[in-house]
Structures are given as structure tokens and as C-alpha cells.
């Protein structure tokens, strides 16, 4: 129990970490011209949301949600399960995004957005 409280983050601080991570990811998606880096930014963005979900499952003083004698407080497992699904979706999105980048590179010979825009306008 004492271990729990000692390592317990002040929750507000934790949310700031998530927000900063989210904004970093979002910024990369918007600001970067490189298609691969955009995907990386998208991943950071999504991971911050996974963290948001996982933090909300934490019940103060609760242990892992496995039935055990003498334990009455458990963390909420539902957000974890939701995030398992969301992680799968995230992996699929990343894979598809990278596959598209490969095809874009085959078709345009570049993965820089500015160059692609120039090529698109020529055509």
C-alpha cells in the first residue's frame, strides 16, 4: 500500500504529460512535409490517447484486476481492453499508411509533400 502511494503520480501532472505528447504528435502531423514523419506523428498522437485511457482505469490503491483472496480493490480493466482494440486499429492504420507511402514513392519518386504537390499540379 505504501509502495502504491509513494509511486503515485499526481494525476494532474500525468494529464499534462498526455496533453504535451498529444500536441507534439499533432504538430508533427500538421507541420512535417515528409509523409513517413507524418505517420510517426500520427502514432505519437494515438499513443497519447492510449495513455489517457489507461490512466483512467487506475483506481487508487487498486491492484491488477485478477481475482485473489484478501484483495478487494481492483483497477478498472475495461479501458485496458478498449485500448487493446484501439492499438490493433492503430497498427492497421500505420501499416496501411506506410504501404501507401511506398506506393506514393513508386508513383512520384519522392515522399516530400511539397515536391508531390508540384508534381500533382503539373499533371
Amino acid at each position: 500500500m505504501s509502495l502504491e502511494t509513494e509511486f503515485y503520480f499526481p494525476s494532474l501532472g500525468l494529464y499534462w504529460i498526455i496533453i504535451v505528447l498529444m500536441m507534439i504528435g499533432f504538430y508533427i502531423v500538421i507541420a512535417h512535409g515528409n509523409l513517413v514523419k507524418k505517420i510517426v506523428g500520427l502514432n505519437v498522437f494515438q499513443v497519447s490517447v492510449f495513455l489517457l485511457f489507461i490512466t483512467m482505469g487506475k483506481v487508487l490503491g487498486g491492484t491488477a484486476p485478477i481475482l485473489k483472496e484478501g484483495v478487494s480493490t481492483y483497477s478498472n480493466p475495461l479501458p485496458h481492453v478498449l485500448i487493446l482494440t484501439a492499438i490493433v486499429v492503430g497498427v492497421a492504420t500505420t501499416a496501411l499508411g506506410l504501404a501507401l507511402v511506398v506506393r506514393v514513392r513508386e508513383a512520384f519518386g519522392t515522399v516530400e509533400e511539397d515536391d508531390i504537390c508540384a508534381l500533382e499540379n503539373d499533371a
Binding site: L42, G97, A107, E120
Partner: protein, 493 residues
Amino acid sequence: MIAQHLPILQVVLPLLAAPICMFIRHPRVVWMWAFVTAWLCLPMSVGLLLKVLEQGTIVYNLGGWAAPWGIEYRIDILNSFVLIIVSMIGAIVLPFARRSVEREIPQKRIYLFYTMLLLCLAGLLGMTITGDAFNLFVFLEISSLSTYVLISFGKDRRALTAAYRYLIVGTIGATFYIIGVGLLYMATGSLNIADLAVLIPNIGGNRTVQSGMAFLIIGLALKAALFPMHMWLPNAYTYAPSVVSIFLSATATKVAVYAFIRVVFSIFGDVNILEILPVRNMLMVLAIAAMVIGSAAALYQTDVRRLFAYSSIAQIGYIILGISFDSVTGVTAGVVHLFNHALMKGGLFMVLGLLAYQIGSTKIQDIAGLGERMPLTMAALVIGGLGLIGMPLTAGFISKWYLIQAAIDIGLWPIAFIIVLSSILTVVYVWRIVEVIYFHRPVNPINDIDRAPISMVAPMWILIGATIFFGINTNATLEIAGAAAKALLAGGV
């Protein structure tokens, strides 16, 4: 026995049929398989609608786990109406697809195309039918991921970049949606839409709930291509294969708008978020901007597909405007326009699909003078265009009539005026097409126009005919939309 499990079959059938396509591989057989699947989905939707009309809301617990712990499929009038739209378009698109896909997509990839089309159908049906906010996210992603792939099948290399951009924007939208769901879950501990509707009024002004609402609305607006979050749409519709443009323009944005309605009127139904002035004003301003700017942008396009893509953005504006009025007439107009616009745009994109098949282009200079050579197809284009304008005797008239009436009912004369203004813009861009078709000489005369196969002409005329049928015979659609609107405004689910 089977009737009892219809709600789940509606989703599971296309979801299971999709991977089987991967094993069949033979293009013709895969098409047959997809065709049968889509045509099985349609009677299910019709059955569900009839059942709902007869005995009210159907609740189906997945795996027998009771809500709010289990996932619940909840079908009311609005759902079943949207289900009909999706499965009807799916069923009509497939006969059209066979020849069009053979022409536009390499032989060895055709089976992958139908796999994705069925997955997209399953995702859209799932989004519509589910009563669980997280389950909705999962189906949203199933339909979105398959949509990105479908768009990238386009012949032009710009299809790839269009798909990539849609992937980025779509994923941000879906992630916003899930942040919203997470925040609501934090505050209420529930993911069930009906349950959320009951729990949220108790915690009223909670800031977590408010920001959750903002995330949900923005996320879904991105998927619905509400102005100014529409930038992904024109390229996606222009460069995707014809069949994909037809299917997406008629269903994908509609289902996103449906989810939007669910959030506004069901999850936040008892809180009446539309009575909070800033929310309502924001939606109205965006809707009006979409109507005017979408129509104005359509004026400048040189490709007819792109022109109709911009017109879609304007039409989404009409639907959202109807919803933002927060009155029975307004919401009825919005819901009925979901249906009517699906018919009109589906029909119009089918005409363009035929053009792509017969003359290999949809550029406005290439259709010059085609009125003589392809009189029937061009007539269909004109009828669809009249529907977009909202001419009496076409389906578009009904929705606009109700929309203007709703605006006047609540004393917003300027908005009624803007609706007319944007209709005039529509007249201008439709006239531009008519002028080119009938009064211009062909720029570079095309000698060989391929014969249009009956399997493509028939579906086109079914949709174009339906815009006239539902323009004259308005009782059925208006009754259903009206009942849905009344149920929505009564609050809760």
C-alpha cells in the same frame, strides 16, 4: 429464430463474406459472391425497418450480455432508415460494379477490391446499427480503413495521395472521436449510448463532459466533411474508381452525419446542447458556409466529378443546417435529405461512371456536345442536376421546402434567403453543364463511344428514377423521417 437475430446478421454477413473473397480470387466469382451478399443485406434492412415500424425500438444484446455491460444493438426508426440507405446503395452499386471495375481495376486485383467493398459495407452498417459508443469507433475504423484502400485503387497516381491525405485526416477524426468517448467514460463510467443519455444530465455542467462533447462533434464532423473540415473529400471522390465514388458519396458521409445526429440528440439529448447558443450558432455558421462556399467552389471546377464532389460538401451543409434548427421540421428536413441526397448523388456519380466507361473522361471539355450522341445518359445527368437544385417533382425539392419552412418557423428569414441563394448557385453550376452538353460543339470529337452495358444503365436509371419517384410520392420518406425527428427531439434514445 433467424428473425430474432437479424440485427447481428446484418453486420456479420458482409463482415464474414469479405475475407472469403480473398480465397475465391476468381474475378467473376468474387463479384457474384459480393453481389449475393449485398442483395441479402437489403431484405434484412427492410425487415428491420418493418419490424421497427410495427413494434418500436428493437434491442439486441450481443452474446446475451445485458447493457450497459454488454454491447447492445439498438434499432429505432432513424437507424433502420439509414440502414436502408446504406444497404440499398450497396445492392444497386454491385450490378453496376461488374463492368466498371473490370475496366478500371487490373484483373488480378479485382478480388481485393470486392473484399474491401464488403468490409466497407460491413463497417458502415455496423456504425449505423450499434448502440455502443466504443463499438461505433471500431466500425468507424473498419469502414475508414477499407475506404482508404478503395480510394487508392484509382488509376490516376493522385488517387494515392488522396487516399494518404484522407488517411491522415480520417485517423485524426477517429482519434478525436475516441478521446471524446474516453472523456465521457471518465465522467459517467458507461459506453452505452442509451445509458450515457440517462447519466449525463445528472452531471450537467461537468467540464470533462463538455470537452468530450467538443471532441465527439469535431471528430465526426471531420468524417462527415463538414466545412471547413472537407479538404480530403474533393480529391478522394475525383480520383477514386467510379464505383467507389458512387458508394462513398451516397453512404459514407451520410453514416457519419447519422453518428453526428446520435451524439447531438441521443447522447446529449436531455441536456439539449443545441439550446446552448454557441453550439447551435457554430453549427449553423459552418452549415451555411458549407452551402455557399461548397456551391461557389463547384462553379470553378473543370472536372465534373470534382464539381459534384464540391456540391456534396454543400449538400452536407443542408443536412447539418436542418439538424441545427432543433425543430421537428428542421430535423425532418435533415433526415429526409440524407436519403434524397444519397439517391441523387449516387445517380449522378453513376452517370459519371458511365461516362468514364464510355468515353474515358469526365472533364467538362470532353462532354461538350454529347447531348446528341448520348441523349439518354445526358438526360439522366440533367435530371440529377435538377434534383440538386431542388426543382419541384424531384426529391431535392422536398428537403429544401422543409428546410426553408423550418427556417421561417423559427423566424430566421435571412437563413431562408441564404438557402435560396445557394440554390441559385446550384442552378448556375448545373446550367454550366447543361450548356456544355447541349449547346457546345465537341472540342476534340470522340469517334468511338463504347456501348453502355445494360448492367450499368439499369442501376443508373433506378437511382435517377427514384429521385423523381420520391419527389412525387413523398409520403413514405417524410413519414419515416418525421417519426425519427419526433423521437429524437423527445430526448433520450
